[in-house]
């Protein structure tokens, strides 16, 4: 709990809990989560967005690896040690870099002229990367597309 207090993720009036800077072993955090459910609620987000708070073992428990994979890859998320996804998912955008959910790796095959177009757009737009050009294009496309049910 001390590690989460230090990072402002939790507040408590329990005396004697000292904020600590050192990463805590995952096993300890999982145990603490059985005592204070709010720790368990935060853990999936911490594992994905701020794993530096924890000392992770070489081999992660299966359910920990599963919930991390689901969050990272935008897959259906399982309940995590009794905490349903609707309780832990909101923290994914609040922990670490605020307002950001983890990015998902997707690969596409482009033709040569698409690659050149992407490079031209990256230079002409205020975009820092090819991904940002595609993100801007998607946002523009979505904003300009008419919702299907409004078409008569």
């Amino acid at each position: 709990m001390g590690r989460f207090l230090e990072d402002g993720l939790l507040e408590t009036n329990i005396e004697g809990i000292v904020p600590r800077r050192k990463p805590v072993p995952l096993d300890d955090a999982l145990w603490a989560g059985t005592v204070e459910p709010r720790i368990m609620e935060l853990l999936p987000a911490v594992l994905v967005k701020k794993p530096s708070l924890l000392r992770l073992p070489k081999e992660l428990p299966e359910d920990v690896a599963e919930v991390m994979h689901a969050i990272r890859h935008g897959k259906p998320t399982p309940s995590f040690r009794g905490v349903p996804p609707e309780q832990y998912l909101p923290w994914v955008t609040q922990v670490g870099r605020k307002g950001r959910s983890p990015s998902v790796l997707k690969s596409f095959r482009f033709r040569h002229d698409d690659v050149l177009r992407l490079a031209r757009l990256r230079d002409s737009l205020p975009a820092r990367s090819d991904t940002e050009v595609i993100r801007m294009a998607l946002e523009l496309l979505e904003a300009s597309a008419e919702p299907v049910d409004s078409v008569i």
């Binding site: 939790l10 408590t12 329990i14 459910p37 609040q94 605020k98």
Partner: protein
């Protein structure tokens, strides 16, 4: 949570400034609003003698306009807090008493009474709040808590 009243003061001042500007520009001013703080932060603000641990999210009912809510969210974020987007869905007993936390010109902030908050927790999130309710019962819960528990059919046996 000492700074909760300060946050509402800052919100009140912001609304006042925006309303002066709106009137000068002939635009409609923001209406007064009432914010009712619920959940863990209500217990904190009430200073109950219980072991409390809270995440950053603030549950509240608010009748504020969208822009005022946005400014409240910004002020909370400055203080490491988040306005829970589902806070307005929190169930509270009809008998909940709301005690004043901050009374300003445009913003009134109230906190739900501890018995009502604890009944809400015991009924809707028993597992998550098991330790808290057990501690309250062990320390001698109020007569009102037991009355509310009976009325709303809260199974207190599960906490002992």
């Amino acid at each position: 949570m000492d700074n909760l009243a300060q946050i509402f003061l800052a919100l009140d001042q912001w609304v006042a400034r925006e309303n002066v500007r709106a009137r000068a520009e002939g635009m409609p001013a923001y209406k007064s609003c009432r914010v009712r703080v619920l959940g863990q932060w209500a217990l904190w603000a009430a200073g109950v003698d219980l072991t409390l641990t809270a995440t950053q999210d603030l549950d509240a009912y608010g009748d504020y306009e969208w822009a005022v809510q946005g400014e409240l969210e910004r002020l909370l974020a400055e203080n490491g807090k988040v306005l829970d987007p589902h806070g307005h869905e929190v169930w509270m007993p009809r008998e909940t008493r709301y005690n004043p936390l901050y009374q300003g010109t445009f913003v009134e902030a109230l906190v739900a009474d501890a018995d009502a908050v604890l009944i809400s927790k015991a009924l809707k999130a028993a597992e998550k709040n098991r330790a808290l309710i057990t501690e309250y019962l062990a320390k001698g819960a109020s007569k009102r808590f037991f009355e509310l528990a009976r009325k709303y059919r809260v199974d207190l046996e599960q906490f002992v």
